[in-house]
Subunit: 332 residues, 2 copies
């Protein structure tokens, strides 16, 4: 690290099912691991002030309100101007932090970041991006739910932004980019997909063609681009299918004494397989295209997931993902 | 069975990766198992005639052409008027058979059935339907690819048709029908999904609300309705994810002597789990809404899958799925 790589991340102390406990724990670990990290901890004064005064490189930013998981995102963001999510995004907008991390409501983070931090100039729509849990290799997908309704041209920018994330953060050199579709041939798919194909072919470096549903988890491609409706359904389908199969497998392994004994021998390797397809490795889903780093963690995040999320946010700032996106999008 | 339940199914002798060998084998088994089954075997004279003359209840219907898997479906159907798929559908149209089964090109079967057999009066668009391989319970999904572009109102009929199939063929009493969406709440989703939700709520008996991607394989609902683009991507995602995990599991099980020994103990139960999520159990994907039974099997079908497909086609005829759909759709 160079002398000037100190990074400040605003962290939503109230985000997630186990907040604020696991958030504080995760922030403490992140601060301990990264000596050039500063945290602006956003939440109720009685939560953030005692923590900040007992931890170096942590600043308390009181915010009196909390947006709950079930609230209507856009409405909640407009109404609760002193909520931890809105105040956290404002800290980025005003330059007190370079990135924002929350394990709270994804919808509220999207709304608050888009309204509060604002889009990078030239970006039509920010995209939510995620690393698909694959046992083969990491696969980056966008959009996974920021834009339920898309125009085909949005997908060109989704591809550009996701490629930068794949290369700089996930570490995939020269990522191969594919459009999610219902057949491999150029002429396949809905009218939307056909138009997106033609635009991506002409405007996305690294574009290699169409991917089908069964190509995702096999890591046949590095970046999968789709609209936010399909992407959200597909990501949840992968997660749900993997979870259901592991649950069924657990049933098989514990069905008799014989299988229990057999299970003992494969237990460690199975755990490793299960971990390899865990969504937590990359710290959360980045919202790409806003004028500052914004990372959203799983609601079920534990302290380790929070720590990963805060460190990943800092890493995205240091790798200047936002600047690279601005440059790439400005080129067109 | 009653005295009049003799059923005639036209079978594409040239459909699938291993045709005609496995098709003939499968047809022979189906004829042996179901004594009230007649088969019109469609394909090159030199293939179908010797088989028909050596098997009771089998009639040869020569067809000189074959549509290959890679061909453009609609074009191939228009050009190859003497292909086994086109001739097979014509046999249904002309009343020589009540159903058609093929393990050939899905797209060509859809095009040939829609053009050749025709739609049930009142059906806006036929839907391709499938049973999702779930370790929990069978889940019926439509559309899985007949209509890449849909209007919201199509989904009402998809729901009605898939419910009849779920109840009569899969054996699910009072199926719970859900719309595939990106959130549980009524107001969630794309404009398309919101419109479909509102129409389904008013017009589909058994409609219980929105399903998300992670609700599919858990069998939280019995029937999942969506457009053909999303349905196709999701079905392939489930199949691809399950396959990738079983492949990874195989790697785990054979990684060392210790795990190999452990694997021996769970082998049988694992095989049972793998079989429980096999797509072959229901014989293929029915095209619902055409004026005759049309079932499309996997291209990779073996003789057992072909046998299941032919028997399932006969079962759909006996259960009068086509008549029940006509009645349900006529009610609106």
């Amino acid at each position: 690290m160079s002398y000037d790589d100190t990074v400040t991340i605003a962290v939503d102390a109230m985000g997630g099912d186990h907040a604020p406990g696991v958030v504080l724990e995760g922030v403490a670990s992140a601060l301990a691991k990264d000596e050039r990290l500063q945290v602006v901890l956003v939440g109720p004064a009685e939560v953030v002030e005692p923590f900040a005064s007992s931890h170096a490189r942590c600043i308390a930013q009181p915010a009196s309100e909390v947006i709950a998981m079930g609230e209507h995102p856009a409405q909640a963001v407009r109404r609760k101007k002193d909520s931890s999510i809105v105040v956290g995004c404002r800290a980025v907008k005003e330059g007190h932090a370079q990135g924002f991390f929350s394990a709270g409501s994804t919808g509220a983070c999207l709304a608050a970041a888009t309204l509060g931090i604002g889009r990078i100039k030239g970006v039509q729509r920010p995209a939510l991006c995620s690393v698909i849990p694959s046992p083969v290799a990491p696969v980056v997908m966008a959009d996974i739910g920021a834009n339920a309704d898309c125009k085909p041209e949005y997908l060109v920018q989704f591809a550009q932004m996701a490629s930068i994330y794949a290369e700089k953060v996930v570490g995939i050199e020269h990522p191969r980019v594919a459009l999610l579709n219902i057949g491999e041939e150029d002429t396949k798919g809905s009218q939307f997909a056909q138009q997106a194909f033609s635009l991506m072919k002409d405007n996305v470096s690294g574009f290699v063609g169409n991917a089908e549903g069964n190509d995702i988890i096999t890591a046949k491609y590095d970046v999968i681009v789709t609209d936010g409706f399909t992407g959200n359904v597909v990501l949840k389908t992968v997660e749900g299918t993997a979870k259901a199969l592991f649950d069924a497998l657990k049933g098989v392994m514990t069905s008799s004494l014989k299988t229990k004994i057999g299970a003992l021998a494969v237990k460690g390797d199975l755990k490793a397989l299960k971990d390899s397809i865990s969504a937590d490795t990359y710290g959360g889903a980045p919202l790409l295209g806003v004028a500052g780093v914004c990372l959203v963690g799983h609601g079920s995040s534990n302290a380790t997931a929070i720590e990963n999320g805060v460190l990943a946010s800092a890493s995205m700032v240091r790798k200047d993902v936002t600047g690279l996106i601005a440059e790439a999008v400005g080129k067109r």
